[in-house]
């Protein structure tokens, strides 16, 4: 027979866990709203910038005129993957999904005969990849404010430009959880070097057709645009990832709160039954005692 005192303690501990998870859910929900706004408002700049970049690239007929950092190197040997994880846990499958995806990507790249280097964003990725034998070129942590997110994006940009110029990497992709909706996030790859050209949307073909005048000349503009574009793309992925993180945490904490509620119901039922059984047992003892007299 379960101990009444034990059951009582159990119920109160599950109740306090429920309080914590429901508070975390609320916090995540309000943070999500803010992160989502940021992600959406940063989209305008990123879209315009990629429009300008593609019209510039489209205007240049001969792709060999474009700088290497835009078109990529011909014999690319070393790929860099930037992994955008979270700083904190308790967000469901947010990080493990990402790492599983990254693992597949890495083995695909190695199958193509390329070596892979890793750059981690967020504490979770850095502690995860420390245990593997992959080459980590840099780790960034504590992306807890918008200013910090921008600053980290800037640092990542500088690092990849430096690595590319020193021939330490040939290709760069970012992996992040794309924010689809509050209940769904999707691990997504965004190529940085070479610049993705699979987005042949209507906008893009319009960009290739319209005749722009450029000032100063194209090469000087590209010199300004390419780093700007990296920064914007990285910043955007960081923002998307943070929106996804809050969404994932909100969903998983909502589940946890509900599970705790179910558990409390079950425990309360057992508690009441046990208490009732004790009373009945005592009554039987008294009655049979009285009968014996």
């Amino acid at each position: 027979m379960p101990n009444l005192k034990e059951l009582k303690n159990r119920i109160s501990s599950v109740k306090s866990t429920r309080k914590i998870t429901s508070a975390m859910k609320m916090v995540a929900a309000s943070k999500l709203r803010r992160a989502q706004e940021l992600a959406e408002s940063s989209r305008v700049y990123a879209d315009s910038l990629s429009f300008i970049l593609s019209s510039l690239a489209g205007n240049t007929k001969n792709s060999s005129d474009l700088p290497e950092i835009l078109t990529g190197r011909e014999n690319s040997k070393i790929s860099l993957l930037i992994i955008n994880s979270s700083d904190r846990g308790l967000c469901g499958g947010f990080n493990s999904n990402l790492f599983r995806n990254a693992k597949k990507w890495i083995s695909d790249q190695q199958g193509l005969g390329k070596s892979v280097k890793i750059m981690t964003v967020g504490k979770k990725a850095s502690s995860f990849y420390k245990k593997t034998d992959l080459d980590i070129v840099a780790s960034f942590e504590d992306l807890n404010s918008n200013d910090r997110q921008l600053q980290v994006s800037e640092e990542i940009k500088n690092k990849i430009m430096e690595l590319f110029e020193n021939n330490e990497i040939d290709e760069v992709s970012i992996l992040f959880n794309k924010f689809v909706s509050a209940i769904s996030q999707e691990p997504t790859y965004q190529p940085l070097i070479p610049l993705s050209n699979d987005e042949t949307s209507e906008e893009e073909s319009e960009a290739n057709n319209s005749v722009f005048e450029f000032e100063p000349d194209k090469n000087e503009l590209l010199e300004y645009l390419v780093p700007r574009n990296f920064l914007t793309q990285i910043y955007r992925s960081v923002l998307e990832s943070s929106a996804s993180e809050h969404a994932a945490r909100m969903t998983s904490m909502d589940n946890a709160t509900r599970n705790a509620g179910d558990m409390i119901d079950r425990l309360t039922l057992t508690y009441n039954r046990t208490r009732q059984a004790f009373i009945t047992k005592e009554l039987i003892e008294i009655i049979s005692g009285a009968e014996a007299v």
Binding site: Y45, E215, L221, L231
Partner: protein, 121 residues
């Protein structure tokens, strides 16, 4: 009227119909007006002036960026922007732009000049 849209990496700062906007292009100031030929330019630090009937309505300091002009749209992608009316010329060094530009000597000098004596008044 031309649709002027000013965007920073974080957000759309404003979007409105204006008669003319004067921008500090990399190779000289230019005026954005409707039916300007399609044009993409980078910006140097300087004053951006929104004008109507030869008067400056609003004045800003931009620290650099890009501009794309086509037909009736003028999109300005700025690094940093601040209305000049919010900068006090006597203690401009306390302004947000000044602090953000720290380390960029040429931009700071331009900022000082623009604050004290804007080219378009």
């Amino acid at each position: 009227m031309i649709n002027l849209k000013v965007v920073s990496p974080q957000k759309v700062i404003f979007e409105k119909e204006v008669e003319m906007a004067v921008l500090p292009g990399a190779e000289g100031d230019f005026a954005a007006m409707p039916n300007h030929s399609p044009f993409i330019s980078s910006l140097r630090p300087g004053q951006m002036a929104i004008m109507s009937s030869n008067k400056v309505d609003e004045s800003f300091f931009v620290s650099g960026g890009l501009v794309m002009l086509k037909e009736k749209v003028c999109e300005v992608l700025v690094d940093q922007i601040e209305p000049l009316s919010e900068v006090n010329s006597s203690n401009y060094q306390q302004s947000k732009t000044y602090q953000e530009l720290e380390g960029n000597e040429t931009a700071l000098v331009t900022f000082e000049q623009v604050v004290n004596n804007p080219p378009y008044k």
